[in-house]
Symmetry: C2
Subunit: 221 residues, 2 copies
DNA sequence: GCCTCCGTGTTGGTATGCCAACGGACTTTC
DNA sequence: GAAAGTCCGTTGGCATACCAACACGGAGGC
């Protein structure tokens, strides 16, 4: 199975022929990693950005006492290590490892940013994509920080619902998570989340069924 | 009082004369905002990146029920709205307003990214700075999410301490926060934080005095 | 039909954090 | 040197979330 690079966040909006030509200009190299192999080790900086072609990459973090935890998992088309590559000299706080046998494209950030000898307009698009990618992740993280800020489950839910309402422009919307995923996103227990949803429905704040929610447009008191 | 742009994150590493020339090329405009004026309103997208020259800008968020809260505050030299400007069409979730009478430089993101007619090597540096800026903010937010993930104060502290140890390479380090700031960073109560620090010291996990901490290198059990 | 699996809601006991209030140490100001 | 402000630690009562366990219903396999 082969990824179409034009569908990835990093190369979107570019013609396949352009991409092909560009990969040479960038000296992009395809690498294969056996399951369990470390792609980028913690503690050292990297100038490489990775794009998963097949398989799966996991980002995991260990504290100084040896406790490991998985922070995220990146499948085909996904980009990894871009934030570290874009901060010169910044050592990784995480290990990037292959969860399965994995093939990945590695790009040197300097080749991405440096203007190539034959002025190459595609670079502009690539850099813009990279910047957009970083900024999107930025906004995602900001929202997560925002919604996990309140201390009660109800306030976290209302914070999240407020975003949904603003995004969709409607007090009636679907959410892309099941209960467990929503609980993880808001950093609360699934059962406590279910319970709080019930209470909010009992209190007349919301109505819901599965992933569809109606939030009452209440007059504040 | 006037900011030296060469000291800002966005223009660092560039010669003042280069910056001056570049501002013209970018069609950068200096704007003045009276205290309380909205610089970028919520709900609409912006193509402008702001750099605070004097005064202060606040980022505030209101939910759909009218509750406002300040998310951050940006002083001279600071950059704002860059994440939104770099995601085409993304409407702001926040209001950007002038906390005081404020002067700010506004740059159009498209002029930053599009190659200028007279091939301008300074653009490369500017774009790299912008990318570094976004990526640094990215890593900062990731760390915050990481440290506020655990549910107990002790685990949050240990998570934070683990990062400090890795960063400094030593189990003895200073932190850049006072108690209130650390509590805000970890999303806990100051008094509860103080209490937990006491208990951890009693339990022999750490020793501390003011902002200096010694974490015991314990053999795991 | 029966079975299992998975997602969801419900409940009660326990642990933990929040909150408000206070006291001590230190600094700044006049 | 007195007074006020700031930062930090301590305590007790209260609120809330966690945790484990169980019940229910639908989807899918056989």
């Amino acid at each position: 199975m082969q990824i179409n690079l034009a569908n990835t966040r990093l190369f979107r909006g570019m013609e396949p022929s352009d991409i092909e030509e560009m990969l040479g200009c960038l000296r992009a190299k395809e690498h294969a990693f056996q399951k369990g192999k470390i792609i980028f080790p913690e503690g050292v900086a990297t100038e490489q950005i990775g794009v998963v072609l097949s398989g799966r990459v996991i980002i995991e973090m260990g504290d100084v006492w040896g406790n490991n935890s998985v922070l995220s998992s990146i499948g085909p088309g996904g980009v990894f290590a871009e934030a570290y590559a874009c901060v010169p000299g910044e050592p990784l706080m995480v290990n990037v490892t292959a969860a399965e046998d994995t093939r990945a494209l590695l790009l040197n950030i300097r080749r991405v940013l440096e203007p190539c000898a034959n002025v190459c307009p595609r670079h502009v698009r690539l850099v813009r994509n990279l910047l957009t990618l970083c900024s999107e992740k930025n906004l995602q993280l900001s929202r997560r920080v925002l919604h996990t800020g309140p201390k009660s489950i109800r306030k976290r839910l209302l914070s999240y619902f407020s975003e949904c309402i603003k995004r969709t422009g409607s007090y009636s919307f679907d959410i892309p998570y099941n209960r467990q995923q929503l609980a993880d996103y808001l950093s609360v227990e699934r059962s406590a989340l279910s319970n709080e949803l019930s209470l909010m429905q009992r209190d007349g704040l919301i109505r819901y069924e599965k992933n569809h929610f109606d939030v009452m447009e209440q007059i504040d008191g």
